[in-house]
C-alpha cells in the first residue's frame, strides 16, 4: 500500500495538471482495493495479521485488521471514493488556484492512506505516527484556500486542537509503556487493576474525544468544516470524526472493570453532546456550520450507543450490550453516508450561490431540482424518519435503552435510561426542526436576495457520488438485518470475554430488523399508491395557478417571507440557557428626525466555546508570553540553544541520568 501511495504521490507531482484528479482517483481506488480485500476477509472470517519490521526499530510493528478495523476501513474507503469523485468536479471552479490544486490531490491520497493506517496499526508508535500524518494532511486539505485569512485561522485552530489530542494520546501510550512494557493496544488488557491504569484510559479517551468532537472538545468542528472545501468537509465529518469513535471503541474493548462507571460517564457526556450540538445547529445561519454542529449531535448519538453497551456489560445483560454497540457502529456507518451527502449538496449550493448564509437563499429547488431532492433525502435520513437509514440505527439504540429499562434493577440507572430516552426524543424533534428550516429556507419559497449569477444544476461528476451514497442509504434502510449481522460479528469479536457468543440468541433481533426493512418497503409502497390515487382522481380537474394567498394583502414582498432566524426564534428563546443570542446594532444618530439606513445583526454564540475554551486558551497564552524571549529571531541564539541541548544530553549520559 505504501508503495502504491509513494508512486502515486510521485506521479501526482509529475503528471500534468488536468489529469491529476484522475490519478488521485486511481491511487485512492487501488488503495481501496488493497485494503478492502483483507477487510472483507476479516469481516467474514478471521483476523488478518502481519508484521512490519523496520530497521533500527526494536521489535516488529504488528499490523492487524480485525473485524472492528475492517468495519471502519470499509466506511473510510466508500466515503473517500465518493469524496474524490465529487472533489474532481468541485475543484474545477478553482482553476485559477493552480498551486493549491496540485498540493490538494497529493495530500488527499496521503490523507486516505493515513486513515487506513490508523485503522490497521496495532502498535502504539505506528498508530501515533499515522494519526499525526492524518491530522497534518487533513489540515493541508482544510486550508485549501490558504490565501484567505479566515481559512488560515480556522486551519490553525484545527491544528492546535488536533495536537492537543496527539499530546494526550502520546502521554497515554507512554504511560502504558511504563506500566506494561509494551506499546500495543492489547497491552491495555494486561494493566494491573489499580487507579493508575484508569488514568491511562482517561488520557486516551480524552485524546480520542477531541477527534470525535464530544463537548467541551468540539470547538474545532464548527470552524474547520466551513473553511474546508465541501468534499473535504464531507470526508472529515463522515470519517475523521469517526476515527475518534474507532479509538474509543478500541480502548474500551480492553476495559476489564468499572464498565458501569465508564458507561454512565460516557452516556451522560454523549447525551449532553447530542443536545448541545443540535441546539446550536438549529440556530446557525451558516449552513456548513449547521452541518458541523449536527455532526456533534450525531457523535453524541453514537456515544449514547457506546454508553448503553458498557452499561449492558456492567449489568451482564449481553443483549443490551450488543444492541448498544451495534447501534453505535451502524450509526457510524449511516452518519458517514448521509453527512457526506449533505455536505456534497451544501457544496453544490455554495458553488452556485457563493454564500453560506441561508438567509440570502431561497427557491433553489426550481434551479437545482436534483440537488434539492438529494439534500431532502439526506435531511430526512438524518432526522431519523423511516423509510430512511437513519431510523435503523436510532431504532437499535432505542431498543437497547428499552431493553435495559426492563432488565436493570437499580433505580439510579433506570432514571438515567429514561432521561436518555427523553433526551433522544428531544434530539429527534430538534433535528426535525433544524432540517425543515435548512431545507425550507435554502430550497423553497422565493429567492430572498439577488444572486450574482443564475444558479444552475451541478455537473454529473458532482451528482454521481451523491447517487451512489443514496443507493447505499437505501441498502441500509431496506436490508437492516444484513448490516446488523455484520455489526454483531464486530461486537462479538471485539468483546469475546464480556459478551459471550450469542449469534443464536440474537436471531429474533435480526428478524425484528428485517421487519423494519419490510415495513419501510410497505410504507414506500403506500406513499406511492396514495399519491397514485390522488393523481388518478385529480388529473382531469383544473388547477389554477395563482400567487400565494397573502391574506388579502395584494403586494407581497419577498423580504416578508419567513426566514431561518424567524423560524427558530421561539426555539432560541426557549433554549437560551444553552445557546445565547447576541445582538449588535449601530448607534442610532439622535439628531436625525427621519432614520436612514441602519444596520442590525444577530447571531448565536456557542456558550461553551465563548466561556470555557477561549478563556482557557487566553490564560495559557498569557502564561506562555513570559517565554517569548526565547523566540527572539536571532539565529545566533538559536545555535546557542542547540549547543546547550547537546551539552545537556552529554552531561546526562555522562552522569548516567539518561539510559
Amino acid at each position: 500500500m505504501a508503495l502504491v501511495l509513494g508512486s502515486g504521490v510521485l506521479g501526482l507531482i509529475i503528471v500534468r495538471e488536468s489529469y491529476r484528479p484522475l490519478l488521485a482517483l486511481f491511487v485512492v481506488v487501488v488503495n481501496t482495493i488493497l485494503s478492502s480485500i483483507p477487510s472483507i476477509l476479516a469481516l467474514i472470517g478471521d483476523t488478518q495479521t502481519g508484521a512490519l519490521s523496520i530497521p533500527h526499530f526494536t521489535g516488529d510493528i504488528v499490523i492487524r485488521i480485525d473485524s472492528l478495523s475492517a468495519w471502519f476501513i470499509l466506511i473510510i474507503n466508500f466515503t473517500s471514493i465518493t469524496g474524490v469523485i465529487y472533489g474532481s468536479g468541485y475543484l474545477k471552479a478553482y482553476s485559477h488556484l493552480k498551486v493549491n490544486r496540485e498540493l490538494h490531490w497529493i495530500f488527499y491520497t496521503l490523507f486516505h492512506a493515513s486513515m487506513l493506517w490508523v485503522c490497521i496499526f496495532e502498535h502504539g508508535v505506528g498508530f501515533l505516527i499515522s494519526w499525526e500524518l492524518m491530522s497534518l494532511s487533513s489540515l493541508m486539505l482544510v486550508i485549501f484556500e490558504f490565501q484567505n485569512k479566515a481559512t488560515l485561522k480556522a486551519g490553525i485552530n484545527y491544528m492546535v486542537q488536533m495536537h492537543l489530542s496527539v499530546v494526550l494520546l502520546t502521554l497515554g501510550f507512554i504511560w502504558l509503556y511504563f506500566i506494561t512494557g509494551s506499546f500495543g493496544f492489547s497491552a491495555l488488557a494486561q494493566m494491573p487493576l489499580n487507579n493508575a491504569s484508569v488514568w491511562v484510559f482517561i488520557l486516551l479517551f480524552a485524546g480520542f474525544a477531541i477527534k470525535a468532537g464530544f463537548i467541551p472538545f468540539h470547538s474545532w468542528l464548527p470552524h474547520a468544516h466551513p473553511a474546508a472545501p465541501s468534499h473535504i468537509s464531507g470526508v472529515m465529518s463522515g470519517v475523521i470524526v469517526k476515527l475518534g469513535i474507532y479509538g474509543i471503541l478500541r480502548i474500551i474493548m480492553y476495559l476489564r472493570y468499572d464498565w458501569l462507571l465508564f458507561g454512565e460517564v460516557i452516556l451522560i457526556l454523549s447525551l449532553t453532546t447530542a443536545l448541545y450540538g443540535i441546539a446550536n445547529a438549529a440556530l446557525k445561519y451558516d449552513f456548513k456550520q449547521m452541518l458541523a454542529y449536527c455532526t456533534i449531535e450525531n457523535v453524541g448519538i453514537i456515544g449514547i450507543g457506546l454508553g448503553i453497551g458498557l452499561i449492558g456489560i456492567g449489568n451482564r445483560d449481553s443483549t443490551m450490550a450488543i444492541l448498544g454497540f451495534s447501534g453505535a457502529l451502524l450509526h457510524t456507518l449511516n452518519h458517514s453516508l448521509f453527512k457526506s451527502l449533505l455536505f456534497f449538496g451544501a457544496g453544490s449550493v455554495y458553488q452556485q450561490t457563493h454564500t453560506r448564509n441561508i438567509e440570502h437563499l431561497g427557491g433553489l429547488i426550481k434551479k437545482m431540482p436534483v440537488t434539492a431532492v438529494l439534500f431532502l433525502i439526506g435531511a430526512m435520513a438524518i432526522g431519523g424518519v423511516p423509510p430512511f437509514n437513519g431510523f435503523v440505527s436510532e431504532f437499535i439504540i432505542y431498543k437497547g435503552l428499552f431493553k435495559g429499562l426492563l432488565s436493570i434493577q437499580g433505580i439510579s440507572q433506570s432514571i438515567l435510561l429514561v432521561l436518555t430516552i427523553t433526551g433522544l426524543a428531544i434530539v429527534g424533534g430538534m433535528s426535525l426542526m433544524t432540517f425543515t428550516k435548512t431545507f425550507g429556507v435554502i430550497f423553497l419559497g422565493n429567492p430572498r436576495k439577488e444572486l450574482h449569477h443564475e444558479p444552475k444544476e451541478s455537473s454529473f461528476v458532482m451528482l454521481l457520488p451523491q447517487y451512489l451514497i443514496v443507493a447505499a442509504m437505501f441498502g441500509v434502510a431496506l436490508a437492516p438485518g444484513f448490516f446488523f449481522s455484520y455489526a454483531l460479528k464486530v461486537v462479538t469479536d471485539a468483546f469475546p470475554k464480556t459478551i459471550p457468543d450469542v449469534m443464536g440468541s440474537m436471531s429474533p433481533v435480526i428478524d425484528n430488523l428485517s421487519n423494519i426493512g419490510l415495513v419501510s418497503l410497505v410504507f414506500m409502497g403506500l406513499l406511492v399508491s396514495v399519491y397514485g390515487i390522488r393523481w388518478l382522481l385529480i388529473r382531469k380537474r383544473d388547477a389554477d395557478p395563482y400567487e400565494t394567498w397573502g391574506c388579502g394583502y395584494i403586494a407581497p414582498v419577498k423580504k416578508a417571507q419567513y426566514t431561518g432566524q424567524s423560524f427558530t426564534r421561539s426555539f432560541g428563546l426557549l433554549f437560551r440557557f444553552m445557546v445565547k443570542e447576541k445582538k449588535s446594532a449601530e448607534k442610532f444618530p439622535k439628531q436625525r428626525i427621519y432614520p436612514e439606513s441602519y444596520r442590525f445583526s444577530t447571531n448565536y454564540i456557542d456558550l461553551l466555546e465563548r466561556y470555557l475554551v477561549i478563556p482557557l486558551a487566553k490564560r495559557l497564552t498569557f502564561m506562555l508570553n513570559y517565554f517569548q524571549f526565547i523566540q527572539n529571531g536571532q539565529i545566533q541564539s538559536y545555535v546557542l540553544y542547540g549547543l546547550f541541548f547537546i551539552i545537556l544530553i552529554f552531561l546526562g549520559t555522562a552522569f548516567n541520568l539518561i539510559h
Binding site: Y398, G440, F523
Partner: protein
Amino acid sequence: MVSLLLILIMSLFFSGIIIRTKSIMSGRKGPGIFQPMLDIFRLWKKGSVVSTTTSFIFQIAPTAYFASVIMAVLMIPHGSNPGFISFEGDFIMFAYILAFGKFLMIISALDTGSSFEGMGASREALFSMLVEPAFFILLGSFALFTGQNSFHDIFSSLHYGSQISYLLGGLASFVLVLIAMIENSRMPLDDPKTHLELTMIHEVMILDNSGFDLGVILYTTNLKFAMYGALISNFFIGMLPFEISIPMFFSIQIVFAVAVGIIESFMARFRMGHNPQFVFILTSVSLLIFFGVLLVLGKFV
C-alpha cells in the same frame, strides 16, 4: 385489522361530535355529526388553486401526510387483537412515522413562501418537538410496567393490580388526550374556530392548500383524533372479548370527543408564549407516571 376498521369508522364522525358538543354548549342546535365528513367529500370533488411559488413538495406533502397517519394506524392494536403491523419496538416506529408526515407538512408550508405559513410551520415544529418526550416516557413507563416492548404486548398484558395502577391508567389517558390536542393544534394551544389567518399553528400552515389536498388534510386530522382515541381505549379494553370491547371502544371515543368539545367551549386560547410551559406539563405528568411505575414495581428502596 379490527382496529383499522374501527378507527376508520370512528374518524367519519369524530369531529362531528366535537362540533355538535360545542354547539349544544353554546345553546345552538348545530349541524349533524356527519356534516364535517360531508364537507370533506365535497372538497374531494373540487378542483384547486395552486400557488406559482410552490414546487412538487407542495403536491406530495398532503398525501404523504395521510399515508404516514394510515401507516401509524396500522400499528395500533385492539385489545387482544394485534394491529396489522406488530413487532417489538413498534411504538418507536409509530412516533417516527408520524414525524415523517410532519416533516413534509412543515416544508410544504415553507414551500409557499408565505409569511403566515412559515409562522405556523415554525410553531408546529417547536410544539411537536416538545411533545415527543412525553410520548416516549409514557410508553417507556408502560413497557417497564408490563415488561413488554410492543403496543400489542403492552396492552394485552396490562392488568391493574393495585390502586396506584388505576391512577396510572387515568394519568396516561390524560397525557394522551393532551397529546392529541397538541398534535392537532386544538383549543388550549390554538383556536381552530377563528378565521383562518388568525389561527396560529395548524390551520395557518394549510392556508394555500385547496380542493382535494385540503380535503385530505382535514380528513387526516380526524383520523389522527380517532387514532389517539383508539390508543386511549386500549388502556381499558385489555383482554375483553369483542362483544364488550367494541361498544367500549366507541363509548370511550365518544367520551373523548365530547371532552374535547367541552374543553373547547369553556377554555380560552393560551398566549402563544405560554404554550411551551403548558406542553412541559405533559412531560412532567409522564415522569409522574414513570415514578408511579417504579413505586408499583417496588424499585424505590
